[in-house]
Structure formats: C-alpha cells, structure tokens
C-alpha cells in the first residue's frame, strides 16, 4: 500500500501524518510501524486515524499501533487522548466489544505432562466453556443479580466462589471499573448479555493451552520473577463483553448521532459519533461503558473458574496444587481517565484505546507489589498457529499515552481466507503439528488460519523497538477452542 504523501519519518518505527494531511485535523497522527509493517497497512488506517485527529479536545497527537488495520470510526490499534473539559468520548474509539481483552494463566505443569492429555483437556474445555452463536453461560442470573455484576465486575464472581481473591490483584483495575451505573443501560443490552457470563464468543475469540518453547524466554529475570520457565504450560484466552457490550455501543452510537447537532459537532464518519465528555450523554455512555467493562471482567473470571475445574477433573489435583494462578488480565478496548505528563505538564485525559493495550512501566500505581518493579504485563495474542507473547509495559510508552499493540491484525478478509484454507484440512494439518483445535464451525476455523494474520513476531518486535513494551516470554499453542 503506498505511503500517504506528506508522511514524515520520526524514527525507524514511528511515522507522522501532519495536520496538513487532511482538513479538520487538530493534531498530527503518529503510526508506530516498521517500514515493512507500514507497507502492509491498509489505506483505511491512514484515512481513519486522520479522521480521529479531527475530534474536538484531542491532545498532542493520535496514534496507531503496529498491528493497526481499519475498523469502525477509529482504526483497530487507534489511540486518542482527550481533554476532559472540551474533549469528546466516542464509542468508536473503544469498539463494539467493550473490554475485549486477554487473560493469561500459568500452571506448574510441564508440556510433557500435558501433551498426552491435550485432546481430553480441549474436549472438556469445549464442553465447559460455551462458544459460538446461541451459547448460554452456565450460571442462571436474574436481572437484579446481573445488575450487581455490572457494578462489581469480577469481584461478584470472587464473592460467590468463582475464583480466588488474588485473581483481582492480577486484573487491570482490580477487575472493576468504578462509577458503573446500570440505570443508564438499556433493557435490550441486559436481554442480550444476561445469559452470556462465562461464554467465549466466536470469530477471533479463543481459549488456548500453550507452552513456553525452549527458546521462548526473552527476559530471564522478569520471567523468574513471574515464575515462568521453558516447557511450562499456560492458558491464554481472548474474549469480552459479548452481546451486552455490543448493544451498549450501538445504543450510544445512535444516541450520539442525534445529540451531535445539539453540541455543534460534525464528524467525517458516522462511526465516530461522539459527545462532549462532560455532557449528560457523554457521562451516561461512560457509565454504561463501565458496566460493559465489568461484565467482561466477570465473564473472563467465570471462564478462569471453569478452566480450573477442567484441570482438576483431568489431573485429579486441586488447582492450588497445580499452581493455576493468574499472571494478568488486560483490556484492549476501553477508555480510561488517566493522569499523564505531557511536555512537562501533568494532564488528566480520557484515553481511548481501541485494539490497543495499556502499557505502563515499573512503579505504576495500579500494579500489585509483586509486579510493581517489573511494569504492567501486556498480553498480545497471535493466530492459533503462530503463538502469542507476554510483554511488560515501558516508561517510554508515554510517547503513545502508555499504549502498545494488542494482536497480529488481519492480512486478508474472511472471504479470501475461506477460499485459500479449508477448515477440516486445517484441523488435520494442525493436529499433525501437535495443535489440537475444537470449533463449532469449519468455515470459522478457515477464516482464522494463521496465514490470514500479520506476523505477530514482527508486531511485538516493532513495539519493543519503539519503546512501547518489551518481550518477556513467547508461547506456542498446544490446544485451542474457538466459537
């Protein structure tokens, strides 16, 4: 893809579209990418990130991460920090799947103990963690109880025995966004989400049993501090707020389209519909968004509980004795109010991160004592064939409002992937390579083939070189469940 005219090189891995690139841009747009990744970036990214730079109240510059590709309103990988007093909040800058995120769980098991049982484990996980369309969670909730989840997040699960207190310590914001108000959430959103707690979803959502290969440790000291070692078995999963979050996003997108003329706001793309942060509409969206954040944290907590149950069943030992403990849980679709020092001045900003992961360095206040010296864990998932990474945030990520990449990003459309890959054949090939996968859909599996995604190794290397996050460990898949 040709690089837009006028794009300047800041460093080998940072490029900038100036304000003159498009009428209405209030700030420049920075793309974090190697020359190779930049060449693979679709034109939609440049168009969308420069649209984001037009939003009222945007601060300094907007960013796109190394795995960026076009999305709705914001590109995937898009980051924008807004001043609270005159800035806007845009649901397109968080994404439909509010608090889509990743959770990484370590065990004390070694790959040679797990491989003989991988098929049984994956088959049982496929039964116990509902996936795909029409799937219902395993706990029955009335609306009152669901509203409690929207306020409490993962803590609701811990209170009822679906997890350990330490799981909250190892979750962003302790698994709960404060100031969530279920009263501003529509009945339709509740209808869609009430029976989805503990479900994985479909598409690019997955639960994967992985191992650290012999050469998979990049930072021995950090790995030791987190009790990670080559040959270890871990579990990583990717999911979010399901239909609930989607409905919240859609409801407020529609509401903002109606409200924008009253606030004198025009946007170049309807999916960038927004409202002033301080307006009643903006505040209502933030409260509803936090409900969805909490629903997703509870969702992932429930899934962790099921994982522990499956390991107990398969190995006949308690999860405690198997050391099934959470490394961390991150969100890659949120907006958070954060204090960030820019050009020597401390500013309180609403940071939109869409398909982008928060990435703070050592001493970050939100971290538990054990992680403070290291920095905030970052979990970046690759494709089901290529593997994933654990990284740590860097102080130098301040240049991107303490943000880094979130995944590999797609290279080809679902339709193109289905033409090239056959689901059943892919299943057999992966099995012959030691990766056992279960999915409800052969076409869905084909669409998620490794070749349909960018090279995650290139993405994380770029993020490290740009100073956004640094690699700690790499994981390769053993087994996977998908919707």
């Amino acid at each position: 893809m040709p690089i837009p005219r006028g794009m300047t090189k800041i460093t080998e891995d940072i490029w900038e579209l100036p304000r003159s690139h498009k009428p209405g841009m209030l700030v420049p747009a920075r793309i974090f990418a190697t020359p190779s990744l930049l060449e693979k970036t679709d034109a939609g990214v440049f168009d969308q990130i420069s649209n984001v730079a037009c939003l009222p109240g945007v601060e300094k510059y907007v960013c796109c991460m190394p795995d960026g590709h076009w999305g709705y309103g914001f590109p995937i990988g898009g980051v924008a920090a807004m001043r609270l007093d005159d800035g806007v909040v845009s649901p397109g800058g968080i994404g439909f799947d509010i608090n889509c995120g990743m959770r990484l769980v370590a065990t004390q098991l070694k790959v040679e103990e797990v491989r003989p049982k991988i098929q049984a484990m994956v088959d049982l996980l496929f039964k116990r963690v509902p996936t795909g369309a029409g799937a219902s969670g395993s706990i029955s909730l009335d609306r009152n109880e669901f509203r409690k989840i929207l306020r409490m997040g993962a803590a609701w699960c811990i209170e009822r025995g679906y997890g350990w207190p330490e799981d909250l310590e190892r979750t962003e914001n302790a698994g709960c966004a404060p100031d969530a108000n279920p009263d501003v959430v529509s009945a339709r959103a509740v209808d869609r989400g009430i029976d989805q707690i503990g479900t994985l979803g479909s598409g690019n959502h997955y639960l994967e049993i992985q191992t650290i290969p012999p050469d998979g440790i990049y930072d021995s000291a950090a790995a030791r501090a987190m009790n990670l070692f080559p040959g270890q078995v871990v579990v990583m999963f990717h999911c979010g707020s399901r239909g609930f979050g989607h409905q919240v996003a859609s409801d407020f997108m529609e509401s903002f389209l109606t409200a924008m003329p009253r606030h004198g706001i025009q946007v170049p793309d309807r999916q960038l519909a927004c409202a002033p942060i301080r307006s009643p509409e903006g505040q209502a969206y933030l409260s509803a968004m936090r409900c969805a954040i909490n629903m997703a944290f509870a969702n992932r907590q429930m899934i962790l509980h099921r994982i522990r149950e499956v390991f107990l069943h398969i190995f006949g030992q308690t999860p405690e004795s198997l050391g099934i403990r959470q490394i961390y849980d991150i969100s890659h679709n949120t907006a958070k109010i954060e204090e960030i020092t820019l050009d020597g001045h401390k500013k309180t900003l609403l940071v939109h991160r869409k398909g982008a992961t928060r990435s703070y360095g050592p001493d970050f206040e939100d971290l538990p004592p054990a992680l403070k010296p290291l920095g905030q864990p970052v979990i970046i998932g690759g494709s089901m064939e290529t593997g994933s990474y654990l990284l740590l945030g860097q102080a130098s990520a301040q240049q991107a409002f303490f943000t880094t990449a979130h995944g590999a990003g797609r290279l080809m459309s679902r339709g193109q992937a289905k033409k090239i890959y056959q689901g059943r054949a892919l299943f057999e090939q992966m099995k012959s390579r030691g990766i056992y996968v279960r999915s409800h859909s052969w076409t869905g599996l084909a669409e998620e083939a490794g070749g349909a995604y960018k090279d995650v190794h290139e993405v994380v290397a770029c993020a490290e070189k740009a100073g956004l996050s640094r690699r700690v460990a790499r994981f390769v898949p053993l087994g996977n469940i998908k919707g």
Binding site: D191, R192, G243, R410, S413, Q416
Partner: protein, 143 residues
Amino acid sequence: MSFRIEEDVALADVAIQIQADTLEAVLRESTEALLSVQLENPNAVGSEVVRKVELTAAAPDLLLYKFLQELIYLKDAHKLLLRIKKLTLAERNDGFSVSATLMGETFDLQRHHQSVDVKAATFHGLQVKESHLGWQATFILDI
C-alpha cells in the same frame, strides 16, 4: 438471491451488497444475507416461531440498520433465527415505517451449522440508494 458478499471491503468482518427492485426487497434480501453469513445451511431454518416487528426511521439506510439490529437482538436475546414472512413498508413525512411478520425457529446447534456469529450492523459504508436500476444497499456486519 440478490445479495453478494464483497470480498475485499472488510478484513475482519463481512460486507454485503444488495441489488433489488424495491426497498421492501432490500430488507428481505438483507435478512437472507444475515442468515447466510451466520449459517452454513440457512435453508435448515424452519418456521415454527412467529415474531412481529415494527420500526420507524428517518431515512432508508437507518431503516435497514435498525432492521438488522433488531434481528441481531432477537438472535442474542431470544436465540431466534428469523426471516421475513410478510412486510409492509410506508413512507411518511418524517421518514419510513415498517411492519414485519418474521418467522423462524430457535437456534439449534445440532441442526443449524454455524458459520460466524454476527454481533452488530455498522454504519461503516452503510448506503441505501434508489436509482434507475432499482435499489442498491451496502452494509457491513461486525463479526
């Protein structure tokens, strides 16, 4: 079938293009497109369940958006897979209204072979236009 999946438009999601004689036909084809995206065997959807839907919107594209969103809501909240049995569309001073009788059945994992789960209709590239060729609609479904 007058809908087409546009291959190179949406990487992570599904883009649909429809050519139809009437706006009512656009809604019918959109419903079929939604089922075809979600299921490998859309013809396996029976007709035991009936649902009535009434919507209004200021413009044809918003009408299509709201209609698709309603179908997605019914799929998630009530596990229903539906197609249009009867549709009445009226143009008013302030836009359009539609009254539809939908029929289908509850999602059954054993009989309905899912392809992907559609999570939302989007405004991205959403267009519904009338020309001398009839009506053309394009929309993208979030997967």
